[in-house]
């Protein structure tokens, strides 16, 4: 039966060293780059995952919420282990384990059985359902399935079961996050709007962000303002929970009541306009109070804008403590600028983070030379270009939308830079190019605790700046000859 391809039987061969040397050299050339960029169909080392992964992150971020994958169980295992590896934390989630017969009969039986089992065993306060490929292809009707589940008494009538269609063959994890968050908010706020009621709170929508330090930073800023707030949705506590000898499947998350009442908020700010666009456009039309969408507060100017927006919405001054914090961050920037000024960077990542990296680097006088997004839009390209146009350090930068990390390798080998900002997957490119990789993005599988170091706000500026400058100084110390090995740097 062997040899179904009808190929000629050949001897086992060893690839000649000369060929290995030739190809090793060739993959670093302009000729190779040209062929590499001519690809139309093969994607190599993409820097994005699929929608349901993001949906799971949103689903974890509410009190007592159990993420629920409608689809194959293997999908759920992949999302869970990705979050486990990044946060080094539990990520309890279930799937309804659809198999071949689901493809024939649809997934309703699986969904109902799974809802009953998950509800009974894991005692959640909410089950957040999202889909992987199979039900999306066969066209399962989640609305009907969940309605039928309630009618059959599988879950109580008032038990929240938000659900989102998150097809993996469309968009990326940030879009799945957006869809799941939207559905959760729609579900929880349904019928909760009270004419004339105002909670006096700010609703903060951070967007897809797997850095728990950032959430703590937002909360600290709002506490400094003395403004009551609800974070929609809060993954801190969920993904940086304590170890005191007790396992808690739901260690934190936005309170369901707070989320429900968020529709009566005084104001709502959505950060990360690319991972909250659907949610924000719905919020704008349905939530009370004022609304604003801002880029993530990376760097000084974007943090300033964030704080001023809060001040404006709540009629308050920016607190003195934050103004001092700004001053300290700027002081560090001026002190350390010489270690980063003029350095060229390759940056890649999710759209919202990417905009943040570019702003920060330009503020430091560094050059974001190669800017790459493996799932982006024309709108993103324009927004990035506008940032670049506003700075003399952006003149030579180039933006690559929908290119992958194998494209990035060609860029690094033919037009070298000093460092990369990205996630752990960039380590292969960084090694080949012999330059450092700064793991500010998601996921980080190969360093500990980086997801707890904030990147946003003035504290984020300090953290990024120190990390980058000290690495460049390390390189000088590690590579200089003895005569230039000095005490001071």
């Amino acid at each position: 039966m062997a040899n179904n391809l009808g190929l000629k039987v050949k001897p086992v061969t060893e690839t000649p060293q000369s060929e290995i040397d030739r190809v090793s050299a060739w993959i670093n050339t302009d000729d190779y780059k040209e062929k590499n960029f001519a690809r139309t169909s093969l994607v190599i080392n993409p820097a994005h995952a699929c929608q349901p992964l993001g949906a799971e992150l949103a689903a974890h971020a509410f009190e007592g919420s159990l993420p629920f994958v409608h689809g194959s169980q293997g999908c759920a295992s992949y999302y869970r282990s990705t979050l486990n590896r990044h946060f080094r934390e539990p990520a309890p989630a279930v799937s309804d384990a659809m198999t071949e017969d689901g493809a024939v009969f649809g997934g309703q039986n699986n969904l109902h059985e799974a809802l009953e089992n998950a509800y009974t065993l894991y005692k959640p306060k909410m089950i957040a359902v999202f889909t992987s490929c199979m039900p999306e292809i066969i066209g399962d009707d989640l609305t009907a399935f969940i309605k039928n589940a309630r009618n059959k008494g599988i879950v109580p009538k008032d038990f929240p079961v938000p659900y989102a269609n998150t097809p993996s063959f469309n968009g990326s994890h940030v879009h799945g996050y957006d869809s799941m968050l939207l559905s959760i908010l729609q579900t929880l706020t349904d019928g909760k709007q009270v004419e004339g009621r105002c909670t006096g709170k700010l609703n903060l929508i951070p967007g897809f962000d797997a850095n728990t330090g950032n959430y703590r930073e937002y909360k600290r800023i709002l506490e400094a303002f003395g403004i009551p707030y609800t974070v929609l949705a809060d993954i801190s506590d969920v993904f940086d929970s304590v170890n005191d000898g007790t396992y808690r499947p739901y260690p934190g998350g936005t309170k369901l009541d707070d989320a429900a009442d968020s529709i009566n908020g005084k104001a709502t700010i959505a950060l990360g306009t690319y991972s909250t666009s659907k949610t924000f456009s719905w919020v704008k039309d349905n939530y009370s109070g004022k609304h604003a969408a801002l880029p993530m507060p990376f760097g000084i100017a974007k943090t300033d804008a964030f704080l001023m927006k809060i001040a404006e919405l709540f009629g308050k001054e920016v607190p003195a403590s934050l103004k001092e914090e700004r001053g300290r961050a700027v002081d560090l920037m001026t002190d350390a600028h010489q270690y980063i000024h003029g350095k060229k960077f390759a940056v890649y990542g999710d759209p919202d983070y990417l905009l943040g990296y570019v702003s920060f680097l330009l503020e430091m006088g560094a050059k974001p030379h190669h800017i790459l997004c493996s799932k982006g839009t024309k709108k993103l390209e324009k927004e990035l270009q506008a940032l670049l146009d506003a700075s003399p350090d952006g003149k030579e930068s180039k933006i690559y939308i929908n290119k992958d990390l194998w494209h990035l390798r060609s860029l690094l080998m033919t037009d070298p830079v000093d460092a990369i900002i990205g996630d752990s997957h960039g380590k292969f490119d960084a090694r080949d190019a012999k330059i450092p990789l700064f793991r500010f993005g998601f996921p980080v599988f190969d360093r500990v605790n980086l997801h707890r170091e904030p990147l946003v706000g003035y504290q984020g500026v300090t953290h990024m700046l120190s990390t980058i400058c000290n690495k460049f100084i390390d390189i000088v110390d590690d590579t200089c000859d003895d005569r230039h090995f000095e005490l001071m740097r």
Binding site: L42, T99, A118
Partner: protein, 481 residues
């Protein structure tokens, strides 16, 4: 083989059954009925499975299982270093399985090895109009950009099978056009009940497309063997292959850790197949036995007792030359292993371990823990079949709990009752148990350590187990206030 009946103080068939019954009480009636046959006390003397296995996962219980694609890409195909493995379908599956199994590889990435993420990144239009044309184009692109690749595997993700694409036809045509093996593998994640079917489908694909398409240039000698079901996790094959070579064998190919496609394709010429992970590769061993008359032997390279037993079992099949060499090797390493045991056993004596893994480890590692003075108080598999549980029964102490496709709820319950000193399982379980204050090692990935196989692996294994159990950090879990 008769085994001495091992017992654990305080564990009886009744106590174990009571623990199981308590766990099952929490389930709704239908789920309880489904889960019940998958949990049972071990009957060591029977030497046969005490649980049902390889059945559909109960929806909603939080299973640790993966899918057929995971078994194909992650386990069988992914480790073959000189092929381009295309995850055909949406971007996620390939991204999640990119670099997350720790099957290490020799060679230069992008030149002679392809430890990368290749995908057709299906979009809506590919689902609507089909992805066959895109596949044909991307295969050309792969050939052009990676000219030293020895072949390409096309691993289907769920949508491909559901929309009725014909990757087999594309592979056949492209294979001729590009004059290279392009192997279609219909391993969509919805097939079967776990990653296990992915192994089987991949074995069948090797049978249908790869084996017998190459021949070794040199004449085959009496000691030419293949090492099957060794995936080089954390460098395991770089311990076991040299060990077998030290014993006088020529290891002509490794399936598939740090594997080379052409050598795998010529494996029909070897004299014996030595299999480590029976679950994932027994199929091809049986095919090679039936078709080419190649005998196979299942060995265990974990811990000095089993390694010694295995090497002697292997030597029995060969002449005095090999027998003498094997004894020399054992004599060389025995004192080194004894020194490891003397270092760690006093720190680990009497400690209890619970295992929940895949493949072969829930049974193969038990004795390695016993070499260190530890006792296994529970074991189970994500995706095993009856023949795996048959092989497990004699290794586990009598009356200890066996769990098949355990849910997180069950594992948590068993750990609460058994209070193990260590749990060896996967990344999804790790942090749950650590939050309970229970030391943990990932036993799929060796927790970013390794190798654990062979004599080279045991000192690392012993060090890691000691480090996990005796880390002073566990004493800080309870605050004094």
């Amino acid at each position: 083989m008769s085994h001495e009946i091992k017992t654990v103080e305080g564990i009886t068939k009744e106590s174990t059954q009571e623990m199981i019954d308590h766990a099952l009480d929490a389930y709704p009636e239908k789920a309880k009925k489904k889960r019940s046959p998958h949990l049972a006390p071990n009957d060591q003397a029977s030497g046969s499975a005490c649980v049902k296995s390889n059945k559909k996962t109960v929806p909603g219980v939080m299973s640790a299982r993966g899918c057929a694609y995971a078994g194909a890409k992650g386990v069988v195909w992914g480790p073959i270093r000189d092929m381009v493995h295309v995850s055909h379908g949406p971007v996620g599956c390939g991204w999640y399985s990119w670099g997350t199994r720790r099957n290490l590889m020799s060679g230069i990435t992008g030149v002679t090895n392809f430890a990368m993420q290749f995908t057709s990144d299906f979009q809506e239009k590919d689902v609507v109009y089909g992805g066959d044309k895109k596949l044909a184009v991307l295969l050309r692109e792969a050939k052009e950009l990676f000219p030293l690749a020895k072949g390409i595997s096309v691993l289907s993700e769920c949508p491909v099978g559901l929309i009725g694409d014909d990757i087999n036809a594309v592979a056949k045509e492209s294979s001729k056009e590009l004059d290279m093996p392009i192997i279609p593998c219909n391993c969509e994640g919805f097939r079967g009940v776990s990653q296990s079917l992915g192994h089987h489908i991949s074995n069948d694909t090797i049978r249908d497309y790869i084996i017998e398409t190459r021949e070794f240039p040199d004449p085959i000698g009496p000691y030419d063997i293949a090492l099957i079901g060794e995936y080089n996790i954390g460098g395991d094959a770089w311990s076991t292959k040299p060990l077998l070579e030290e014993c006088g064998f020529n290891v002509k190919s490794v399936w598939t850790g740090d594997g080379e496609m052409e050598k795998i394709a010529a494996t029909h010429q070897v004299k014996l197949n030595v299999i480590h992970c029976y679950r994932s590769m027994n199929y091809m061993c049986k095919v090679m036995e039936e078709k080419y008359g190649i005998p196979w032997i299942e060995l265990n390279f974990f811990g000095p007792t089993k390694i010694k037993e295995s090497l002697r079992k292997l030597a029995e099949l060969f002449d005095d030359n090999i027998k003498a060499k094997v004894e020399e090797v054992i004599a060389k390493y025995d004192p080194q292993m004894q020194a490891v045991i003397e270092q760690y056993k006093p720190r680990l004596e009497g400690k209890k371990v619970m295992l929940y893994v895949g493949g072969l480890r829930p049974r193969h590692t038990i004795n390695a823990y016993e070499d260190l003075g530890m006792t296994c108080v529970g074991s189970g598999y994500e995706f095993a079949h009856t023949d795996d549980y048959d092989r497990t029964a004699p290794e586990m102490p009598d009356a200890t709990v066996v769990y098949d496709d355990a849910s997180e709820f069950e594992m948590e319950h068993f750990a609460n009752v058994l209070k193990p000193d260590l749990i060896g399982s996967g990344i999804k379980e790790k942090y749950l148990f650590q939050k309970m204050g229970i030391p943990f090692r990932q036993m799929h990935s060796w927790d970013y350590s390794g190798p654990y196989h062979g004599y080279k692996g045991f000192p690392t294994f012993a060090r890691d187990i000691d480090m996990a159990i005796n880390s002073p950090t566990w004493k800080l879990v309870k605050s004094p206030f």
